[in-house]
Each structure stands twice: as structure tokens, then as C-alpha cells.
């Protein structure tokens, strides 16, 4: 099975993970419709 991007959905969680990992966040605002 092909790998997929493991998108987070909560801003606070992503920022916290970014601080721990020393990585920036790729924030994708997508069309939900």
C-alpha cells in the first residue's frame, strides 16, 4: 500500500509537534466541498 501524508488537523497539536521536532509546519487550507 502506498504511503500517505499523515496530515494533522489541529493547529495547536501541529505547532507543538513542530517545536519538538524542530520542523516548520506545512499548512494547507483546502476546499472542504
Amino acid at each position: 500500500m502506498a504511503a500517505k501524508i499523515q496530515w494533522r488537523t489541529e493547529m495547536d497539536e501541529a505547532l507543538s509537534l513542530g517545536q519538538k521536532a524542530g520542523k516548520p509546519i506545512l499548512l494547507d487550507f483546502f476546499n472542504p466541498n
Binding site: 494533522r8 520542523k23 499548512l27 494547507d28
Partner: protein, 150 residues
């Protein structure tokens, strides 16, 4: 993006290695208002302190997304005065994705990073000369135009 770009294995690998990926619906408040999102897809490179460093609006195929993300990483480091790290990302873009839409800005920023490290103006002139030779019609060539006199 979901059908063409994000399923590409090289895109998955690049994003997972270099970013914490976060997806938010464009109608989700307050985030869409805080980031003034008006169209989708809007892709933003954010620092872990929620500082915006790079933004694109509209579809990007795999051959343009990776260099755009490298530009975002370069700007993330550049705007935090980490010029060696910025140069590494920007050179990766210029060397590996030389014809991408992100390449002219990367060439410009490479010149600025090298100047910031050395205070030698020659890299700025070099950047202008490379831009005028390879991307004569780019807005980044116009922005570098004064450096021809250095």
C-alpha cells in the same frame, strides 16, 4: 492536489521528512480569517511559533510543489538569520529544480544569503548576472537590477 500531487511518493517523502503537515478546511474559523485565506488551495510555510514565511495560492503539480516547499524552507531559515541552512535549501532548489517557477526567487535569495554571510557584494552581482542570463523576464531579475553596478 489530492489526486495528482499529494499521492506522489516523492512528495509524501519530502513533506514527511521536512514538515509537520497540517490540513484545515478553508471555512474553518478563526484560522481562515487569521490567515486571510480567500482561495484554495492556500499553502503556507509556518514556523513552530506560527510565523508565516511563504505562501502559494492555486494548484501545484509535484514538479512545482517540491521546489516551492524548498523555497519555503529557505525563507523560513533566512528570515530567522540562519543563512547557512537557508543556502543549503535554496541551492538544493536551484540545482535540482532549475527550471521551476521558484528558481528565480531562490537565485535572488542565494545572492542575499551569501552577502549576509560575507558582506562581500559580489554574490549579489553574481545573482543578477545569473538571473539576467537564465530568467531575463523574471520579476526577480528586475528586483536584482541595481546589483549589476556593484
Amino acid at each position: 492536489m489530492d489526486t495528482v500531487t499529494y499521492p506522489e511518493s516523492k512528495v509524501v517523502r519530502f513533506i514527511e521528512e521536512n514538515f509537520i503537515p497540517l490540513r484545515i478546511p478553508s471555512d474553518s474559523k478563526p484560522h481562515s480569517e487569521n490567515f486571510n485565506v480567500k482561495w484554495t488551495p492556500t499553502l503556507i510555510t509556518l514556523s513552530p511559533e506560527a510565523q508565516e514565511h511563504h505562501r502559494t495560492v492555486g494548484f501545484l503539480g509535484p514538479e512545482e510543489l517540491i521546489p516551492s516547499l524548498l523555497l519555503g524552507l529557505g525563507k523560513y531559515h533566512f528570515e530567522n538569520d540562519r543563512f547557512d541552512e537557508a543556502l543549503a535549501r535554496l541551492e538544493q532548489l536551484v540545482d535540482g529544480y532549475a527550471q521551476s517557477g521558484s528558481a528565480p526567487e531562490a537565485i535572488f535569495l542565494c545572492g542575499v544569503c551569501r552577502y549576509k554571510r560575507s558582506h562581500d557584494p559580489k554574490p549579489l552581482k553574481d545573482a543578477y548576472e545569473k538571473l539576467s542570463a537564465v530568467f531575463p523576464d523574471s520579476e526577480w531579475t528586475k528586483r536584482a537590477y541595481p546589483y549589476r553596478l556593484l
